[in-house]
Symmetry: C2
Subunit: 222 residues, 2 copies
Amino acid sequence: MATKTPPSSQTRSQSSSPLKTSPWTHASQREQQREIKRSAVLQTAAQLFNEQGFHATSLDDVAARLNVSKPTLYYYVKNKDEILLQCVRQGLQMTLDGIEASRKAGGKAIDQLIACMQVYGHVVTLDFGRCIIRVGDEGLTPEGRKQLRRQKAAIDLEFRRLVAAGVEEGTLAPCDPKMTAFAIAGALSWIGRWYRPDGEYSREEVVQHCIATLLNGVLRRP
Amino acid sequence: MATKTPPSSQTRSQSSSPLKTSPWTHASQREQQREIKRSAVLQTAAQLFNEQGFHATSLDDVAARLNVSKPTLYYYVKNKDEILLQCVRQGLQMTLDGIEASRKAGGKAIDQLIACMQVYGHVVTLDFGRCIIRVGDEGLTPEGRKQLRRQKAAIDLEFRRLVAAGVEEGTLAPCDPKMTAFAIAGALSWIGRWYRPDGEYSREEVVQHCIATLLNGVLRRP
């Protein structure tokens, strides 16, 4: 047990020639790895919810698609309801971030409105965004539902504000901003119901066509 | 036990003075009564599905709101899934009947399209129509889902046909009829998500505003 080398020297010698690579990753890297895996769980779950419905999807289905065991999933998520909450929250947050960016970019209300329509239309074609439209929030806890409703209300309000500002600046026709905002959100949201990523149209085509319909109307102009 | 009156005479006497009212109702009346009660079950269930969600609603809730016992409900419906199927089917059938009526009325494609938009927009403000939009069909059997998808596809196709005919007759701007029909159906369907029968707008206002937005677009014309 006794050693000839004094402890201080041994320590010095170890620190002067450290292992080139540790078999353990750095804490920050582990956290990053965990986040990547957690994202994969959420994304896969969202795809399954969209394909076969929230209630028909089990955590076994999610685990099977990711080639892991169900206990492994529990290292990243609490349960199915929490997954749904996170999926919808992230979809809504992407929308809110996009809206915030277009607000910061400034410019006319009509241009900001079009930018927001593009963001919203794009998000509802993605996995998390399709969840917002297709799954609904009845599987959530009252607290989770409240959080999401706050985010949804913020999006609604922003659309209404921009419609009202567009009427004010004279680029939009006089209207009831609340009802017009609902018509805009409805037509765009519906994309999340019918759009298939492997279908005949690209995301971009679908969103642009819908925006053009909302801006110009379906009637032919003389 | 013996009687002085001969059986034949007794029989004659009974048939010559029948009871003015039978304590049993006539078979056709019973059938009508049953239908009225069955409708009340469906309507009440639809209201509860729309208020608190399909999965969160039990047959006990439906029975309680109708002041009957759960076993009584089973005389009219098989189970919750069948109730949902019937609610959505009736909502879709109302739409198809309205579309059929406007097709029979004839006239220009644009007028038929507007009539169909009115029918569709109106239906999604009603209990069964709100079910179509709010509940989704994942609670149903594959056979039930197939039936409903057939009805939905018929509605989609009619909208596309009328949009294409409108472009053809020159009343609608050139477009991709499939995507335009989705934009129309989306904006109108969304009414079923946000409209509250006890809210600030009437059914008629909401539907007319949405149709005007879709026809004319949101942009101000010079």
